[in-house]
């Protein structure tokens, strides 16, 4: 019984107009965020400015396109297909790891070359910044 219902709900051909417009809007907005983020990657002057640019693509772009995927496949299949959220969660967990590693690598290399970055925090201070004595 449930199998025949699932097949009957599957839409082959164009989706209802509201679903198509919603999917189209999400796709264009998500791709626009990705393009703006990457354009910032090219145009911003220093590395520490540029590190902020790909987060547009990683967060906003991924969320918008994931919402487009969820909308399209849910309306097409008649069921709520949320598996695209896995990608969002994966990027949410992995992108900060990459950013932190890159920032530490950049700080390390810039300090080595004597550029003007904040010096390494002193290891003998307590977390509030006071001397432990």
């Amino acid at each position: 019984m449930t199998e025949s219902l699932a097949i009957a709900d599957f839409i082959a051909g164009p989706l209802p107009l509201w679903a198509e417009i919603l999917t189209a809007a999400f796709v264009v907005i998500g791709a626009a965020f990705a393009a703006i983020g990457s354009f910032g990657l090219v145009r911003l002057p220093t590395f520490f400015d540029r590190i902020h640019a790909p987060t547009l693509a990683a967060t906003l772009g991924t969320w918008c396109i994931t919402l487009a995927t969820i909308t399209y496949f849910s309306v097409q299949g008649g069921n709520l297909f949320l598996h695209a959220l896995l990608i969002v969660m994966l990027v949410a967990v992995t992108a900060p790891v990459t950013t932190i590693f890159l920032m530490r690598a950049a700080l390390f290399r810039e300090r080595q070359q004597g550029e003007s970055v904040p010096p390494e925090s002193r290891a003998d201070l307590t977390p509030n910044g006071a001397d432990p004595s």
Binding site: V27, A57, T62, T94, T98, F101, L102
Partner: protein, 169 residues
């Protein structure tokens, strides 16, 4: 051993393209159980031999649709809004990947290049998702997951290498 029921079946065709018919012939002949027999002169009917067919009626009843080529992708028929929005989205993502490539080539330092590769895999993953909507197929979602996973591992390994000189200490 149960008795086999081989039979000849004549199926209606709407395919006329010789390349499509050649592929159909390959499919019929290479799968055990069906064999291509004879194509009518006007290519409207095809005689095939079935190795063991319990009930030939489903092939022959009036409601059976003739074999035909997909019309501009049956599952992918969509309103022009979605069609052009997907094309625009793919174009913007291609522009984004070109920008990441530009930073990869220009980037004065190694960490700039690693960040450009990071941005490149994110945009590639987004492009896979948009293609999945375009072709109405679930396979592209799996490809996007794989790109995200492997891209993350590659970016982190490169960043760790820049920091320490080796990846696993």
């Amino acid at each position: 051993m149960p008795r086999l029921k081989p039979c000849f079946i004549e199926i209606p065709l709407q395919l006329r393209d010789p390349n499509a018919l050649a592929v159909l012939a390959m499919i019929f002949c290479l799968t055990p159980g069906t064999a291509w027999g004879e194509l009518s002169f006007d290519r409207s009917k095809l005689l095939i031999h079935m190795f063991d067919l319990e009930d030939p009626q489903p092939f022959l009843k009036n409601g059976a649709r003739p074999l035909r080529a997909s019309v501009a992708g049956d599952l992918r028929i969509m309103t022009p809004i979605l069609f052009w929005a997907l094309k625009l989205g793919l174009f913007l993502l291609a522009v984004a990947m070109l920008c990441a490539l530009a930073r990869l080539l220009i980037g004065p330092s190694a960490q700039d290049r690693v960040m450009a590769l990071d941005c490149l895999y994110i945009n590639g993953m987004l492009m896979m998702l948009v293609l999945g909507i375009n072709y109405a197929s679930n396979v592209y979602f799996e490809a996007a997951m794989l790109i995200a996973l492997f891209g993350f591992v590659a970016s982190t390994a490169l960043a760790k290498f820049l920091l320490r000189g080796e990846v696993i200490e």
